[in-house]
C-alpha cells in the first residue's frame, strides 16, 4: 500500500522484525474445573492501544489480571520485554492498572492518590510534586487536587484513577472497563481524551471492554474473545469488514446473516443458494469452497440498498416487503421480509432533511447489493 512518507502507518504487528512488548505464549488459566483462558497466544506491541473485547465471562478480565500479576497462568508464559512475568509480584511489575471501580483511596486527597505510587517508587522526594502537578494538568484536575474522592464527580474520579495509574510512567497501562460508570456523552468525550493521552505519553494501553463501539473507537487492534479463546485479533476496520466467523460478525455491529449452501465457485466468485425459487447470492470469497458446502453469508445493513423499483445492473437483487421501519434520525433501518420469512435489514442514511420518505410499511421493495459487499463465513 502506498502511504505518504511523512505519515507512516502504525502497524508493528505486520512487521516480522518488530519485537512485541507483551507475548502470551500458550497461556491457559483454570479456576478449578473452569477454564477461563484457553491456550491463548498473542503479541501486543509497544505504543499499541489494544482492546480486549467480549461478553462478560469471556476471560478478558482474567487475561488483564494476569498481566497485572493478580493471577498466574496455569500453563504457558507471559513475557514482558522478553522477561517471564510469572515470578514477579504485582508491586514490582512495570505495569499499572486502572480499575473498573477506580479503586481510589477514599482516605486520601486527589493529590495524595496520584502521589501514592510515586512515594513507593525510587523517585527522589523533590521529583514527586512536579510529577503530580504534571499528571493533574494532563487530566485537567488542578482545581481538585485537595479534594477527597467522594467530593468530586464520577468523571473527575475516572480522571484521577487515570492520572494515578499513569503517574509512574508504566511500560504498560491496563484499563479495566475504564468508562463503564460514565454516561454515554461523557464516555464518548473521554474515549477521545484517552486516545490523546495515550498518544501524548506513548504508553502501551490494554483496555478491557464489553462495549464494541468503545473498542472500535480507541483501539489500534481489537481482540474479540469468547469462552476463553481469541476469536479474531485485528484492526477495527478489518474486524468490522472482514469478520472471520459468525460470532465476530454478529458481536460487532449490526449484521444480516443468511444461511445457505454453495452452488459453485469460479475463481473468487461464488454462488450461494439461500432460498428455494430465488436467484443465488453472488458473493466473493478467497477461500476455496466446494459445491453443497454449508456457509453463512454476512452483510452489513448499510451495504444493502432499498428501492421501490427493481434496480438494474446490481449483482444481487432480492424482492421483499417492508416489515418494520426504525427512524434513528441520522439513519433509517428497514426490516424487510424476504423469501422464506427471513428478515433482512437495510440501512439508509437520511442525507436530506426534507426528503419524502416514500417507503412505508408493507410496501413491496427491492433489496440490492454488490457481489463484494458481504462476507462468506465458512464455519
Amino acid at each position: 500500500m502506498a502511504q505518504p512518507a511523512n505519515r507512516p502507518v502504525f502497524a508493528p504487528w505486520d512487521d516480522p522484525k518488530e519485537k512485541p512488548l507483551i507475548r502470551f505464549q500458550n497461556v491457559t488459566k483454570k479456576f478449578g474445573e473452569f477454564t477461563a483462558i484457553d491456550d491463548i497466544t498473542l503479541d501486543i506491541f509497544q505504543r499499541e492501544f489494544f482492546a480486549l473485547l467480549g461478553p462478560s465471562g469471556c476471560g478478558k478480565t482474567t487475561l488483564m489480571r494476569m498481566l497485572a500479576g493478580f493471577e498466574t497462568p496455569s500453563k504457558g508464559q507471559i513475557l514482558l520485554d522478553g522477561v517471564d512475568q510469572a515470578p514477579i509480584p504485582p508491586n514490582r511489575r512495570a505495569t499499572n492498572m486502572m480499575f473498573q471501580s477506580y479503586a481510589l483511596f477514599p482516605h486520601l486527597s486527589v493529590w495524595d492518590n496520584i502521589a501514592f505510587g510515586l512515594r513507593r517508587s525510587d523517585m527522589a522526594k523533590d521529583q514527586i510534586p512536579p510529577r503530580v502537578e504534571e499528571m493533574l494538568r494532563l487530566t485537567r484536575l488542578e482545581r481538585f487536587a485537595k479534594r477527597k474522592p467522594h467530593q468530586i464527580s464520577g468523571g473527575q474520579r475516572q480522571r484521577v484513577a487515570l492520572a494515578r495509574s499513569l503517574a509512574k510512567a508504566p511500560k504498560l497501562l491496563l484499563l479495566d472497563e475504564p468508562l463503564g460508570a460514565l454516561d454515554k456523552k461523557l464516555r464518548q468525550e473521554t474515549q477521545f481524551e484517552l486516545m490523546d493521552i495515550q498518544e501524548t505519553t506513548g504508553t502501551t494501553f490494554v483496555i478491557v471492554t464489553h462495549d464494541q463501539e468503545e473498542a472500535m473507537t480507541v483501539a489500534s487492534r481489537v481482540a474479540v474473545m469468547d469462552l476463553g479463546k481469541m476469536i479474531q485479533v485485528d484492526t477495527p476496520d478489518r474486524i468490522y469488514e472482514m469478520p472471520n466467523s459468525v460470532y465476530v460478525a454478529d458481536f460487532i455491529g449490526d449484521v444480516n446473516i443468511i444461511e445457505g449452501a454453495v452452488r459453485g465457485q469460479d475463481g473468487e466468485k461464488a454462488q450461494i443458494v439461500w432460498a428455494e425459487g430465488q436467484p443465488p447470492i453472488n458473493a466473493t470469497t478467497a477461500a476455496p469452497v466446494s459445491a453443497g458446502q454449508k456457509v453463512h453469508f454476512a452483510i452489513r445493513p448499510e451495504k444493502v440498498a432499498i428501492a421501490t423499483e427493481k434496480p438494474e445492473g446490481r449483482a444481487n437483487v432480492i424482492a421483499g416487503k417492508v416489515h418494520d421501519i426504525a427512524y434513528l434520525g441520522n439513519i433509517s433501518t428497514y426490516k424487510v421480509e424476504v423469501a422464506g420469512g427471513k428478515m433482512v435489514k437495510a440501512q439508509v442514511a437520511n442525507e436530506r432533511r426534507l426528503a419524502r420518505r416514500n417507503i412505508t410499511w408493507d410496501d413491496e421493495v427491492w433489496l440490492s447489493f454488490t457481489d463484494t459487499a458481504g462476507v462468506v463465513l465458512l464455519n
Partner: protein, 272 residues
C-alpha cells in the same frame, strides 16, 4: 395508614421503656438517698459519692479494671483484626471453615465454662493468678468479638483498593498499613470499644482468672452486694452509667455528623 398514637402503641412504648429503664432509674435515684437503708427515701444527699471517693478498695479495683480493660482490649483488637483479615483474605485454604468456626465459638460459649477452662489452664502451667491472668483471659474472650466486627466490615471492603495499592508498588504489608487499615479503622475502633466494654463489666471470667492479688470492679461490687446492698454501690453504678451514656451519645453524634458531612460532600460533587 393510621399514624395516630393509638392506645396500643402508647401501652407498648410505656411498657418497653419501663422494663428497660425503671431499674436503672431507681438505682440512680437511690444513689442520692441520704438514708443508709436502701429501700427507704431519706432525703437528697451526695454523701455516698464523697464516701466512694475515699474508699481505697474501690479505687484500687477501679484502677485494676481500667488497666485490664485497656491492655486486653488493645491486644484483642490487634489479634482479632489479624484473624479477621486472614480469614477474609487468605482464600480457601485447608480447614478455613474449621478455623472461622473456632474463632466464633467463644461467642456462644458459656462464661462459666470459659472461666473454668482458664482456671484449669493457669493452674496446670503454674501461672500465678493476678492481674496478668485476667488480662490474658479477657484478651481471649473479647478477641472473637473484635474479629466479628472487623470481618463484617471487610466483607464490604472493595478488594480492588488493596490490589490498586499492590499495583502501585506496595508490599502486601504496606498495602494493609496504608490503605486497608485507615479505611477499616472505624470498625477496628468500634471493635476496641466493644472489647473494652466487655472487659469492663465481665464478672464471671474475671472471678475465675483472678487471684487474691487482683480484684476488678465488678468483682468488688458483687462481693459487697452479697453483704447487703450499699448506697455506695448505687453511687458507683450511677457514675458508670453516666460514663457509658456520655460515651454512647458522643459516639453516635460523631457518626451522625460524619454521615451528614459525607452526604453534603457527595451532593456538592454531583453538582460539579
Amino acid at each position: 395508614m393510621n399514624r395516630r398514637f393509638s392506645w396500643f402503641n402508647a401501652t407498648s412504648l410505656t411498657l418497653g421503656f419501663a422494663f428497660l429503664y425503671l431499674p436503672i432509674l431507681i438505682l440512680v435515684l437511690f444513689s442520692f438517698n441520704a438514708s443508709k437503708l436502701v429501700a427507704v427515701w431519706g432525703g437528697f444527699s451526695t454523701k455516698w459519692y464523697v464516701e466512694l471517693i475515699h474508699d481505697q478498695a474501690f479505687l484500687d479495683a477501679a484502677w485494676v479494671t481500667l488497666k485490664v480493660a485497656v491492655v486486653s482490649s488493645t491486644v484483642a483488637t490487634v489479634l482479632g483484626t489479624m484473624a479477621a483479615y486472614v480469614l477474609m483474605r487468605a482464600g480457601r485454604f485447608l480447614g478455613r471453615t474449621l478455623f472461622s468456626g473456632m474463632i466464633y465459638a467463644p461467642l456462644v460459649m458459656p462464661d462459666v465454662i470459659m472461666g473454668l477452662a482458664f482456671l484449669l489452664l493457669f493452674i496446670s502451667i503454674g501461672l500465678d493468678r493476678g492481674i496478668f491472668t485476667i488480662m490474658l483471659a479477657h484478651t481471649t474472650f473479647t478477641m472473637c468479638y473484635v474479629s466479628v466486627v472487623v470481618s463484617s466490615r471487610l466483607v464490604t471492603f472493595d478488594r480492588s483498593l488493596e490490589e490498586a495499592a499492590l499495583d502501585l508498588g506496595c508490599t502486601p504489608f504496606d498495602a494493609f498499613r496504608s490503605v486497608t487499615l485507615p479505611i477499616i479503622a472505624p470498625a477496628v475502633i468500634s471493635g476496641w470499644l466493644l472489647a473494652f466494654t466487655l472487659s469492663l463489666d465481665d464478672l464471671v471470667i474475671a472471678s475465675f482468672a483472678a487471684g487474691p492479688s487482683a480484684t476488678t470492679l465488678p468483682m468488688k461490687v458483687f462481693s459487697s452486694v452479697r453483704l447487703g446492698v450499699n448506697p455506695e454501690i448505687n453511687a458507683l453504678s450511677t457514675i458508670m452509667i453516666s460514663i457509658v451514656t456520655v460515651g454512647v451519645i458522643s459516639a453516635s453524634l460523631f457518626t451522625k455528623r460524619q454521615i451528614a458531612r459525607a452526604r453534603a460532600d457527595e451532593q456538592a460533587a454531583a453538582r460539579g
